[in-house]
Subunit: 307 residues, 2 copies
């Protein structure tokens, strides 16, 4: 076996991302020992049952002891509190990273708690599924997906390069980005789409004249695509919106403006406006497929869903 | 071979739905001869090249001659003109159906042109993909999907039963529905979601501070789900919105109301409202999976997309 990238890695929080990281690190033989901690005893017991992590601890401080890399995999809203808790137990020279979907607020919440002798390199793997919890992870989650690293002022380039090597070993393409730009880009590619999907599903669930049973039966006409992302973890997403407020509201403002323009075209019968708009949006889909970020199989390849 | 359900079937318009019907009818050995017509010479030539339909005609009137079943598979906006054109050539006792996504306007546009000696039974298969054109069809498209039949006043129950048998033979589950209720249900499960997806993709394409290249690269964080339905046929969708104006605008109005409530919760930091909303929407996803209308595989089963 080649030299591990990190001898000891601590995963704090054991949901979809942490469990996928564990299996991806093991698949690649990338690290030595992986320790884990989750706040819920149930989750810790599940982890022990399924062999998730080499060692599971009952406190975060024990889990991070002697770790060369600590990965915060908890909802964005509790990153600061977790950082405060583990700070005194961190090993000198350790790298601290996170996987939160928002970067500016996480940096502001975590940074001040960390001692000067560790490297803080925030990160965000752009990968996930609508499933959550310790059983939902799998080694391939990051393959061919992007992970964004968001070094802060004073981040050591060598420590950043090592973290990059770990993500690349887990299959990801790695890029660096400034935190504010990250939060805006993610508001477009992730946060606004999730809120819109949640909204559409909520509306369908709340109509008097159309029953839930009808919505479910006839969902293959388009609606079901929205229900997948609207089935994502509620705690995680509550925290994302509360912590990326400005960028999300900016994009939603633009969205509403465009939606009103299209509603007006419908109301006034402006078919040319609609046709031109719908033609333009096809190009982005082609770009995504050419970039290997989605399948070209019709209907995501799921057309043959069985009963 | 058992007795065919119809001896002669004419498909008018040769896109995704017509071509899938052809392959599904052939798979089941359900009918005798299938004739076809498309307005574009290119499409007719493609159909001849790939063996789509037993006979391709250069006019719609020739294609429907002697047909026991005529299926209008053209955009909703031209259904009336096509009906007017073929009406004189229809065989006495033939059944005329369509596959349009809107029913009230199609009934009003087509009905008046048809002679009294044919059976008009509007229909709508709730199935499709983001691909279009004569090459996009496949026999399994309707398997386990719903087709809604919308009989009009005076529709012959026997003729309806025969059409139902054909759709069931093609794999579909068939239900009957009133046209106005159809248009409202579809506004929820299909038309509003499509307009919202088109809007979100249009917004992302039109931002100054985030490039198209960034949107494409980082689309796996949620956005790409929207791009699939926003890649659907522009002509078809323009016509859907223009012909189901009231129901679509009603649902979009409700959508905007909810979206504003959620935006307000974000702005004021009302995490409980967000959490409760996001928890409620998970149940609909479970219902859709239990009803066999979508896959439970994480990420629609496409997580292992290759470059």
């Amino acid at each position: 076996m080649s030299t591990p990238i990190y001898n000891r890695v601590a995963l704090i929080g054991l949901g979809l991302i942490a469990s996928s990281m564990f299996w991806a690190m093991k698949r690649g033989g990338l690290v030595g020992t992986v320790t884990g901690y989750a706040r819920s005893e149930d989750t810790r017991n599940t982890a022990r049952d399924i062999g998730l992590c080499d060692e599971i601890y009952d406190t975060a401080s024990e889990a991070v002891k002697d770790a060369d890399l600590v990965v915060l995999c908890v909802p964005v809203g509790v990153m600061g509190a977790v950082a405060a808790e583990i700070a005194p137990a961190l090993k000198e020279g350790a790298t601290i990273t996170d996987v939160g979907s928002v970067k500016r607020e996480v940096i502001d919440a975590v940074g001040p708690h960390l001692p000067g002798n560790v490297h803080f390199i925030p990160g965000h793997p752009l990968a996930g599924t609508e499933h959550s919890g310790p059983r939902s992870g799998f080694a391939e989650l990051f393959d061919n997906r992007f992970t964004l690293l968001v070094p802060v002022e004073g981040s050591d380039p060598k420590a950043t390069a090592t973290l990059r090597a770990l993500w690349e070993g887990m299959g990801a393409k790695v890029e660096e980005m400034d935190p504010d730009h990250h939060d805006l880009v993610l508001a477009v590619t992730s946060h606004a789409p999730h809120l819109i999907a949640y909204t559409m599903v909520g509306v369908a669930d709340d109509l008097r004249r159309v029953t839930d049973s009808e919505v479910i039966k006839y969902s293959a006409a388009g609606f079901r695509d929205f229900t997948r992302i609207a089935a994502s973890d509620p705690t995680m997403w509550r925290d994302v919106f509360l912590n990326n407020k400005d960028a999300t509201l900016e994009i939603l403002g633009r969205f509403t403006e465009e939606l009103f323009a299209l509603q007006r075209a419908i109301r006034t019968g402006d078919g040319d406006h609609l046709y031109d708009y719908f033609t333009r949006t096809r190009a982005i889909r082609r770009g995504i497929i050419e970039a290997g970020q989605d399948t070209d199989a019709p209907d995501f390849g799921r057309s043959k869903v069985k009963t």
